[in-house]
Subunit: 392 residues, 4 copies
């Protein structure tokens, strides 16, 4: 089990971000970001799980991100009606388990924030949404549960409370930065509330780059220490550089989601992240949007001395570039060493682009009219109003 591993001091490596990776592969739609691929194209989901497993992941998360009923029918989304919430969640469990069995990995069932909460539905209604997914996870007997990608600690606590009903271990990660949740609750307090609600593992995922995310987890750690609470720490950041983000993270950056390419982190950035996370005491180390299999492998390679082994995919990768000694061109063979890659400041090849962006800051959050869930698609008139509000 996950807690046995962590309690024993093992490093647990998470997986990467499914919605972004599968969007690029053609199976997920940016906008709704829902996981109907589990039913529509199981082979694509299966292959991505396999790649993460091969890269070193010890946990395969069911591809159930944004798979709550309300999200599957939000703003014109057809999935709830044409496929059904239950089928999407069930297929996700089956695929994850199938691949997990090919190696030594655990399956984690995951829930994430709901449009219902943003639309000010009450606790009972929001919890019912989580419980619907949990029923599937229990039926399919996942190994543990993750409540992830929450912008408001209140909703995250509700999620943890529901998941705890199962008796299985619960991890909880919020998509917040050092400034705290959207209601202004600081990271330290968020961590305390989550642990009190029953989470055994807490941390952050998504929305910020590795450095910023580790800063946030550090604040969580300090909050827990101050409250004399114990929990394992977890981080699953973006694989994008986001030093210019405001409180709400990369969603606000003008490049989100179709112009983020120049921000993608290198494998060497990830090795630095893995080391820093380890030094901070984090033992559940993974990634989120932007993390591709080679990024997960970089975690496993950096921490190979501590873990004592390399992942399978390292058969096709030399540590710190040493496979380049097999390159035909001599000046590329000269790059087969750590000093080279460690110190490289990679150029963007984009001389007409800046290095930082001013994030959008519309200042709307839970309860704002424009955040309300609606079943029908966004209308032309609604879009027109938004375009006018946008400065660009």
């Amino acid at each position: 089990g996950i807690l046995e591993r962590l309690d024993a001091g093992e490093i647990v490596i998470g997986d990467g971000g499914f919605v972004f990776a599968l969007e690029k592969r053609g199976y997920v739609k940016a906008g709704p970001w829902t996981p109907e691929a589990t039913v529509e194209h199981p082979e694509a989901v299966r292959q991505l799980h396999r790649e993460f497993l091969r890269a070193g992941s010890n946990v395969l998360q069911t591809f159930t991100f944004y798979a709550s009923e309300d999200k599957l029918e939000n703003r014109g989304n057809y999935v709830a009606e044409k496929i059904s919430c239950q089928k999407v969640n069930e297929a996700a469990c089956d695929i994850a388990r199938e691949v997990a069995n090919e190696g030594d990995a655990l399956v984690a069932g995951g829930v994430s924030q709901t449009p219902s909460y943003l639309s000010c539905k009450d606790k009972t209604e929001v919890k019912a949404a989580f419980r619907k997914q949990l029923d599937v996870f229990m039926k399919k007997n996942v190994d543990f549960l993750i409540a992830e990608y929450f912008e408001h600690v209140e909703e995250a606590v509700w999620a943890v409370e529901v998941l705890k009903e199962s008796g299985k271990p619960v991890a909880a990660t919020m998509c917040i930065g050092p400034e705290g949740d959207m209601h202004g609750v600081p990271p330290g307090q968020c961590a305390v509330q989550l642990v009190k609600a029953g989470a055994s593992i807490v941390g952050v995922n998504c929305h910020f780059d590795p450095d910023t995310s580790l800063e946030t987890v550090k604040l969580m750690k300090e909050g827990l220490q101050a409250a004399k609470l114990k929990a394992h720490l977890m981080s699953q950041p973006l694989a994008f550089h986001t030093p210019d983000c405001g409180k709400q993270g990369f969603i606000d950056l003008p490049e989100f989601p179709f112009g983020l390419e120049p921000r993608i982190v290198t494998r060497w950035d990830i090795q630095k992240y893995a080391r820093k996370a380890y030094d901070l005491g984090i033992r559940y180390i993974g990634g989120c949007c932007g993390f591709e299999p080679y990024h997960v492998r970089a975690i496993a390679e950096e921490l190979a001395p501590e873990r004592g082994f390399l992942p399978e995919a390292s058969e096709k990768h030399g540590s710190w570039g040493d496979s380049l000694s097999m390159h035909t061109k001599p000046w590329v063979r000269a790059r087969a060493r750590k000093e080279y890659w460690e110190n490289l400041k990679p150029a963007s090849g984009r001389p007409y682009c800046p290095s930082m962006s001013k994030p959008d800051g519309w200042g709307v959050t839970k309860g704002a009219r424009e955040l309300m869930q609606q079943k029908e698609a966004t209308s032309e008139q609604q879009l027109k109003e938004l375009f006018q509000k946008q400065k660009f």
Copy 2:
């Protein structure tokens, strides 16, 4: 057949770069860059073919890049001995055909430049290497043949001559820029020689970004016109911005191959490329290293008005970002329009990095000692000498 389609004025969409995509997925080793995954992990190769097919590719190239015998045993590579050149090529053909049959795609057998040529082996020996691969292609009955990724037109001509023996249509692309091949032959003359040798389709692939590559094809087109020769034009550039490249392309950039992330082009860059290529008269439009399925889809979406249909993967993609109208956050919905993405100058999030790099320029080419093929791995001593030569 490929020529029927092109002769009829159809746009043919190529696929993307396998070695880079599969390196990130954990199945190809940077350095040797050889395609043993066809035997070792056929499911991974199959899945990538499927994604390109779904994204709109009309041609599936057999994953036989660098699959000549000499490359499979160069500098410590184990593939020739442990697997065999023939098995790698056969498996590649089988997988490509299997997936092509799932849709309306052609299978192209591909050969590329050889270490033998760089090591000054004679014409007979180099041709024998190509012929070995061709035998497999004939046995497996591919639809047509591609000679690609040649830095020297002399070797490319030899390849075309061999492939023409088959009677099948031959396409030939060189990995050169506007300055011409490594021996200084300008693009226009390269094109003329290739057509005279029997190629029906000529152009460029790899080594340079879309803009630079189109400049090179333009020079080829002018060369053919001046020589009153007819051929179809083809371009399969990098999906990396490389305005700072010298004559030899992105191999020389300090970021090659593990720090190229900030240079990755967006889908919008690709739409501009597709339009420009079309306007230049190119009708075989694809990609090379860095091209992921979503980049190929961007070609298909840009040229949908001319072709009259969208690719399957566009089910999960709105034209010019319009699926963002389904996003929860209003400021992201405000990005659901062409003007936004067309004008965005994406930031790198890397304020300590420059926008351009000075490429390595070692000035070694065919015949240089450090370029010679050798079966044994690069020795420590050889590496040490290279490190000293390197300025970094």
Copy 3:
């Protein structure tokens, strides 16, 4: 008098930075940064005063920066011995008064931080150094006094106490950022201490860019309000962009002092600064290192609506670029408007350079061995030790 003007609600425009401007003109040596030009080349000092006066300055500061006796004989400096502290200060007063009389400007005598303080000399000794300069200011009858460029509020308070002995109005500015002084005293507390010591005007000068400086003054303002103290506010920031500075300001940036060119602010940046400073309630608005006469003119032009008049030098400058309507080239005439210059994001023309730097952070301050004053020049051995300590 200065207080009459400020009390009446007038905007008082300061001047710009003499040491940087005269270094570029060939009269000040970077390193010691001492003002012996008042004796050696009075015509150059006089001309710079005239340019600032013409640009709109209401105050001409005597060029007595770093003109304390201990600084004039620090690390091999010849000025104390060859010229004398008194002569440098006297000449500075005479030149400033001569030019002030050509217009409607006040003369302010200025003192700044001393090597004695950094070398841990006691209060009596440090005060004696300020008093020596004050004696000259009284003899020459300057209009008011400024204690500027202090990194430690303790020393600044000592300076204010000495200057207050004169009975003349005293302004005090520290070269600190939002993090406070080198001993960690926050800006709000610094302001409170300075006002309690007798300063009628408080604020910041040097070390940080306009935006950062205004942030610091805002904290000072809040500190004063909390303490129910009243004082006029003053800002004289750098004319360099320094978003990447740490606590100690631009001294730490690798570009200091000979590579700062790409950071120089435009006149439009200054107009934005002047407006923001005014809106924050600052009424003594000037500049420091990097400010050239055209930057001061930009303050005067931005605030012309409030003040009701333009400076003399605006005879040679159209508001927001409108003199470009006289340019020969039509595309330059098209730039004769505010929208153009207000929105321009100027390029650096330096594609191989980054946009931000990591500042040096040696963590040495008052009392550190390497900060001690010494009469003899830095020895080869001392330099060698420093070079080894430096990472570059």
Copy 4:
């Protein structure tokens, strides 16, 4: 005389750009860029001459740029009528001679391109404009003559022909880049025509950065060699980085003229330029717009080994930063060495700005309606038309 010095193999150091330096000091109006300061504020012109002399200039150019009668009355300019062309030119000669006599410098009378030429006035009329200035230069007995800042070699040749009537040595520089003059005449041919017309010294000034300018002079040198002509070479480039310029130079850059700050070159850039110019065989080495006295000093310091002496202003400057050994802060003292400054890639402190710009390219030249001289100011209607034409 100038030719004696050059014939003897001496290095002659030119001065810097007056219109830009005096614009920043408040005496020249951007747009018309005319030199009425010689009459209105002689002390400012005198001081700038002195600074260049002190920095090492061997030639003081009369401040007669754009001082032809037609320019002094173009587009609303008042100078011809209110002051007179003759007085401006006479005062310029007097001031330059006065300062030249303070040291060992020559006075050069200068003419530059005319609106008359752009307005298609005939040869006689254009020559008459030059002759009017020449009459003053002869009366004031300047040491030699410079025809500078010509975009069309035809007009430059006319200028040289007029200046040659005086019997004094003539230098001629064009403001062109490697692509040649505005009519497409390549640099090599321009040089040949100028020498044939009587110029003893040829080269380029203004419009491009040091590197680009040297490329152009190299082409001129090759043109002269091919034509078996002899002349001394001269370069007076911008002190701005302009790698992104098109054919017409920095006028086209969106930053011209009020946002060029981030492009200003450092003293170290100038030392590299001086060395490169010298190695190319150029012996008249100076600067143009953007060159401040410290840039000229950098030429003199770089070439001090060849010349055997330092300029006066080096009393206030240590070679390659060594005066920093006198700085108070140890980490700044650690920068007192060549390796540090030579390798520094200075950051812009502008993370929201790009590194390169797309130049305006309106494609209008001699004869275009919008280039015509007109006495009356540009009308509102004319401006409005231009604003519409502008993309920004």
